[in-house]
């Protein structure tokens, strides 16, 4: 059952200095022309999937980018079209403060969006300027207010390890974000991605490189402050007021199937789901011994896909790896399936190793959950779990 749908909007008004994701910076008439062309293909794709019955069970949808809000009125139209095929209980649009007007917020709510994820990043103007954001701190807070006024659930993205950021300025950003009262907060440590302007600048000026110790402190500090303010950490980077977890993101971490629509959007289907939709996904069947197929759309027209096939054993190891991103960790049922697929001994060894290294701990309900150490050193933990995919 495909329960989640992701739609990608590869346009922005300007590229941020740290971003290596698929998006083109366009404005005015050039943006209009490119967006119209792109959306035509995107909507056709939504309709094709809808016609094939693939969207009927979608419970969460997420329009990401890029900056979906640069689409203006086209964005509520897109939301509306998605709603024509399914009735998701959660439908998120990513948004940047400067392009989320009160009118657009209202139109989004009207069209059936339930939630916006705002790229706030920082509430210090100098830090925002350093990473090439187009908004100020004040502008970000006003956007939060506009979204709330429209009746939308609001999430704020924050980043730590930004050029010029200090422990003090991070505290101010956290306090400001909490005061704005969003329903959900995400905290991401900045990583320098190869080829980005920031990575190039950091090559010449190593001071721009994020200080990992400071980032670790910032992440821990955010956790303290947000927990104190009533937000529960439920995933590596995510905090929510009770009942406001992002169900779409949770789907990614818990092995649920999802469809990706648009250039460079990723999807994941079980082998039977893939075979049922293969005519729309390049035409090749999953093949023998394949339990799960991951794909990324390569072009605007959905004619070309990058496909990765996973065995049952790999799929389960992946579920363990992803499950460890969740604060609640993985349950006994998944562990039992892992033991069956990878062998009692391998799973036992990986779990023991993670316990010995202090990365996980057993919870009273029989779940295996990451410790604070396992949270901050997630790669160690994920690596151990993914290691179960390989034969000994």
């Amino acid at each position: 059952m495909v329960s989640a749908l992701y739609l990608h909007i590869p346009f922005c008004h300007a590229r941020c200095a740290y971003c290596d994701f698929d998006s083109r910076a366009l404005r005015g008439a050039a943006l209009d022309a490119a967006a119209d062309r792109y959306l035509e293909a995107l909507l056709a794709r939504v309709d094709a999937l809808g016609d094939a019955g693939a969207l009927a069970d979608v419970r969460t949808a997420y329009v990401g980018g890029g900056t979906p809000t640069v689409l203006g009125d086209r964005l509520p139209e897109l939301v509306h079209r998605v709603r024509a095929w399914c009735s998701p209980s959660e439908l998120t649009c990513e948004a940047n403060p400067e392009s989320l007007s009160a009118e657009l917020a209202a139109a989004l709510a009207e069209s059936g969006a339930t939630r916006v994820s705002l790229g706030v990043q920082s509430l210090e103007d100098a830090e925002l300027a350093a990473i090439g954001r187009l908004h100020t701190a004040e502008g970000a807070l006003e956007a939060v207010a506009r979204a709330r006024a429209a009746g939308l659930d609001v999430s704020c993205d924050l980043m730590c390890g930004l050029p010029g950021q200090t422990g003090e300025s991070w505290r101010r950003t956290l306090a400001g974000a909490v005061a704005a009262g969003p329903d959900h907060v995400s905290v991401y440590p900045l990583t320098l991605e190869e080829g980005t302007p920031l990575a190039r600048r950091a090559e010449a000026d190593p001071a721009l490189e994020p200080d990992e110790d400071l980032q670790a402190w910032c992440m821990a500090e955010a956790r303290r402050e947000l927990v104190a303010a009533g937000y529960a950490p439920y995933e590596v980077a995510s905090y929510a007021r009770p009942g406001h977890e992002c169900a779409h993101n949770v789907a990614y971490w818990t092995g649920e199937s999802y469809l990706g629509v648009g250039r460079s959007a990723a999807g994941m289907l079980s082998a039977p789901e893939w075979d049922g939709l293969s005519a729309l996904l390049g035409g090749e069947s999953a093949g023998p011994g394949v339990a799960r197929v991951r794909y990324v759309q390569r072009d605007d027209e959905a004619a070309s896909f990058e496909v990765e096939r996973l065995s049952r054993r790999e799929a389960i190891a992946e579920d363990l790896m992803l499950g460890m991103r969740m604060t609640r960790g993985v349950g006994p049922e998944l562990l039992a399936r892992a033991r069956e697929a990878s062998g009692e001994k391998s799973v036992g060894a990986a779990v023991d190793e993670a316990l010995t290294r202090g990365l996980v701990a057993w919870a009273p309900d029989g779940r295996l959950a990451p410790t604070e150490r396992g949270w901050l050193l997630g790669n160690e933990l994920y690596g151990l779990m993914w290691g179960l995919a390989a034969d000994d």
Partner: protein, 603 residues
Amino acid sequence: MATNDTSHIRNFSIVAHIDHGKSTISDRILELTHTVEERDMEAQLLDTMDIERERGITIKSNAVRVTYDADDGQSYQFNLIDTPGHVDFTYEVSRSLAACEGAVLVVDATQGVEAQTVSNANLAMNANLDIVPAINKIDLPSAHPDEVKEEIEEDLAIPAEDAVCVSGKTGEGIHDLLEAIVMLVSPPSGDYGAPLKALILDSYFDEYRGVVATVRVFDGHVSKGDQLTMMQSGEDFLVDGVGVRRPAETPVGELGVGEVGYVVTGLKDPAAVRVGDTLTYRDRPCAEALPGYREAKPMVYTGLFPIDNKDYENLRDALEKLRVNDPSLTWSPETSVALGFGFRVGFLGLLHMEVVKERLEREFSLSLIATSPSVDYHVYRTDGTMLEVRSPQDLPDVTRIDHIEEPFLKAKVIVPPEYTGAVMQLAIEHRGITQDMIYLTEKSVEMHFDIPLAELILDFFDQLKSRTKGYASLDYEFSDYRASDLVKLDILLSGDEVDALSFIVHRDKAYQLARGLCDKLKEIIPRQQFEVPIQGAIGNKIISRSTVKAVRKDVLAKCYGGDISRKRKLLEKQKEGKKRMKQIGSVEVPQEAFLAVLKVDDQ
């Protein structure tokens, strides 16, 4: 050629300063004589090993036969013998030159004579070769061939009226060069009817044919079915075939007097065939072996350990296989607490070490750790006995050492006069003792000094090159053993001594090196789950310290739109990186940490 007539044979090598165009000229000669068609040309065709091509250096000797139809209407057999170009391979160079009657000395028309031109010309003249000067790169606008001719006469004392102006790039003048080789290089002499006397220049191992030796015949002749013996090693064998390289191996009926080619020995023991040895008939040997044979003696010893201990046997097999091309390679088993089972391997020098390690890793898919280089120390114990120590781990307890002696070299540097100060300074920094300076010409000075081998092997050659802007050339030979105040510097990770990181060093330099090593290791060793103190110690005394901080955060950041594959690939890449590290106690140590001593910045 069943005859004494060698008048149509010319054996020569090409020598030059680096980048003066030796390889391009070789390539043009192969092209012009239709040995290799243009479409098959790859730059630097003669350098066959990947490593040679990548680094643009020649490590192994090579001999190619070309046929040249000269203007006099005669057809000539040219044997073009390529020689190694690094100080580590001085012996191989001398053997290659011994196989030639002539040398083409290439000088860049824009750069003129440089220090290496001088030292190479000296080598060629010492070998009594006929020299054909070739002024290269005359296609460049800044070429000044007339001045370069003057330099050749003044600085090298070589008559330059015969110098040929060529362009390796355009091919201009190559025809004239080939004519000059015919005119100026003497044909070989020898007696076809005499017992075989042939010099081994090089050899390689072929799985099916055994050792294949490259030889130069001085007297007699050799063909398939001959029963031969090697005069130094005493090994007998039946010739399984002879041939020449054009450059592909081409069988011929026989190799006659004066000719260069290969002999298939069928021998399965690589060590039996040594560069410099003399081949002769088993039942009718020549009176005496060719002069100049020398057991290739290693100068430097490093430990080589497989990262995965399961590869120990594979490493030994791989070393055996490399030795066939490289008889100078020697080794003995070594055990390290930190690294497990491996070998202490002797090398001609550090470049040789790097090349061997790289070949072992590439050609035999091994992942190896090389430890700090050491020389052969003579340790005199309090009981009066002497112990040869090639690994810091083998050094006895200080209380049982009376004194230690280390090998000294006589080093010879040829350099333009303006750099003599810089060279002297460098020598002093490396505990060298300047003996004298001789003006060879107005533009080159020969400096002699005594220097500990241990100092020379580290970075002396690179430093010499950089401080003299590449002008200096270096030659050295063993002098004697001398007593020095040497100590063992130990490195501790997380409080535990790591034997593979120990180093023998002069006491006066120990503190500086210990500081440098601790700082370098701090850079090389990645942050771990726990803090890792790094300490340098002499005996029980800690003399330096640095700390690798614990990693606080290592987590995948934002996962855009559920693109899990991408994140998983990052994890896998991280894991690959870890495989290349050695777990020592609880610390993951990258391969390069064990050679950190080579990377300590000079203060």
